[in-house]
């Protein structure tokens, strides 16, 4: 997708070879792992988690994996689900569509009964038909492009706010701060483009603020002087970057070096400790639209402490969502009294008031959160902290 056109092709071949072999062994030796599971086998219940383990989004993948593992350990210590232990099956998506398809196929052939992964929207999107065909429900903790639910797949549930809800939060903050003009910049990926167009249409429908520039950049480059010139020419009061942190950090740095006097806001894909490192001194004062992180949540201290104890590091973005995804999956399996996909989907739809970090859960008709729970963060001394909870 981003850089490795050549890489992707070769990887595709390599993974195709691997997949055929693993799929075959699953068919021959596994004796239909899925069927065995749903009849109340005593083996562990497998949860699939396709997340970025390599590539530029790998740091977030580690936070997600740890968050999920924490929930798995807690549930197992408490006796598991339906008398069986949970087991996490982590596969790499590398934030790349080809790799995520390979990862999802591998998870399916490993016999997972539910998926609790999904970070990059562009990589999560092609996983949907694979899990759907295998009758496996997906609880998506982080990826949040509207495209994920627009297809209307019954097995997809999103527990992160959607692009639409993020745009609404962005607009609310823009109006609150009385920014008169806004420039929107994305990186041409599904997730990023979604927030850009959604924010643009909401701002235009609202009418109080003017969009003076809406443009895209190519991810994976170092020099963004052309977009910096465009922004300097359009003179917006606020630049809203909707892509990921690598390019975000470079653009912030280059904007500040060019003498940009307005404010900068980034979307949740850029909320990563590395953003401030890459952006350098100019990062302070940059706003971000983000769902609650452990640092900004009230009453999460105990949880943070047990996370630190387990992994010897601080939790990061999407640790809580991944933790909640596993707990939600366990709850749904318990309610369904079975690991059958259709029964779990019915149980997920029926869930009402399940306590999560983002508040009590009830899915909307399109399987998203009824409120996104987005807040505004600001960078202070290189760290994100809560600026405005928009309540």
């Amino acid at each position: 997708m981003k850089f490795g056109k050549r890489g992707s092709i070769l990887l595709c071949i390599a993974t195709a070879v691997l997949l055929t072999t693993s799929a075959c062994s699953g068919g021959l030796l596994g004796g239909g792992g899925n069927g065995g599971d749903s009849t109340g086998d005593s083996g562990p219940i497998k949860l699939g988690m396709v997340i970025p383990i390599s590539g530029s989004s790998a740091p977030t993948g580690a936070y997600m994996k740890n968050g999920a593992q924490l929930a798995v350990d807690e549930i197992n210590k408490a006796g598991g689900v339906l008398g069986r232990q949970l087991e996490l099956d982590v596969e790499d998506e590398a934030c790349d569509a080809q790799q995520s398809v390979a990862g999802a196929n591998k998870a399916v052939s490993n016999g997972v009964v539910i998926s609790v992964g999904g970070y990059c929207s562009g990589a999560t999107l092609p996983e949907i038909p694979i899990f759907q065909k295998a009758n496996i429900p997906m609880i998506i903790p982080a990826a949040n492009s509207q495209d994920l639910v627009n297809q209307g797949a019954k097995n997809v549930f999103m527990i992160n706010g959607t692009g639409k809800q993020q745009s609404t939060a962005a607009l609310a903050f823009i109006k609150k701060q009385k920014f008169a003009t806004v420039a929107l910049v994305d990186d041409n990926t599904s997730y990023s483009k979604d927030i850009n167009t959604e924010t643009k249409s909401q701002i235009e429908a609202d009418g109080a603020v003017k969009v003076v520039l809406s443009t895209s950049v190519t991810a994976g480059e170092s020099d963004y002087s052309s977009v910096v010139r465009d922004i300097m020419g359009a003179k917006p009061a606020l630049v809203y970057w909707t892509g990921y942190y690598q390019e975000g950090g470079l653009i912030i740095n280059q904007l500040k070096n060019a003498g940009f006097a307005g404010q900068i806001m980034v979307a949740d894909g850029s909320v990563d400790p590395s953003l401030a490192q890459i952006a350098g001194a100019g990062a302070d004062g940059v706003y971000a639209t983000m769902t609650q992180t452990p640092d900004t949540l009230k009453g999460a201290e105990d949880w943070i402490a047990s996370y630190k104890k387990a992994f010897n590091s601080d939790p990061g973005p999407y640790s809580t969502q991944s933790y909640d995804a596993v707990r939600l999956a366990a709850e749904a399996i318990k309610q369904a009294k079975s690991t059958d996909g259709a029964a779990i989907i019915t149980a997920l739809e029926a869930i009402d008031g399940f306590q999560m970090f983002s508040g009590p859960l009830k899915f909307t008709a399109e399987h998203t959160l009824s409120s996104g729970g987005f807040v505004i963060l600001v960078i202070k001394d290189g760290k994100f902290s809560l600026e405005d909870d928009l309540s």
Partner: protein, 297 residues
Amino acid sequence: MIQLIWDGLFVGSFYALIALGYSMVYGIIKLLNFAHGDIYMLGAFIGFAVLTSVGGIPASLSIGALLVVMLVSMLLTGTAGVLIERLAYRPLRGAPRLAVLITAVGVSFSLEYGISALAGPNPRAFPIRLEGNVFVLLGARISLPQIILMLIAAMLMVLLNFYVEKTSTGRAMRAISLDRNASLLMGINVNQVISRTFFIGSALAGAAGVMAGAYYGKIDFLMGFIIGLKAFTAAVIGGIGNIKGAMLGGLVLGFVEAFGAEWFGGQWRDVFAFAVLILFLTLRPTGILGQRVTERV
């Protein structure tokens, strides 16, 4: 307008430095060394490793430290280039050109994923950040680091030009690019000269890698891919195999990108740059300087 020209010049001088290595290697053994962009990446990572092992460097010394690190990195990437030629390309010298080309792609992968395995796949913030005073000249915002980096690039290119034009090794390089067998018969140590060519080309790319790390502040193991393609474009525009052409091609590509982005919008910048590559390949495959200067290196 002035800003556009300045931005184009600045980016173009990076392209030119990397395009030189492409062009020199092509000139002397007719190989498109697709691993060249990854040598640039390697240079940035060597710079990173040296700087982090040294520890903190006061901001006042950052230019001096940068020059030292750049020299170290140039030596090491140059050596890496020689090793790559010795291990991967020399055994295939008599083989069909397609085989060598595929080998070059393989070397490129080995470098990318080797570094990814050694240094981790995550992007790193470069320990030195060149941030200097910005002043406005004729309406363009120009910063001190930009001027320093461009001076370094220009100096390296002048040195290279002198080396190729005036020294005996330079003469040998030009002779080999004209006729390798005849050069061999004239008593030129062809293998040694080819090794030197690889050393110089790779060292220039390594220098560009350190400069990019210090200026942009971020390095990652795939950073050489797109810029490698752009340097190739620059080499083709200028006339591949031609040293002055590579320098000119780099600057022209910088301008093409800056003006393309201005006229068609920022998201069309790369489309425009590579469209120019296609135009050149169909209309004038020898590039701007390809025919006028017959002597190639």
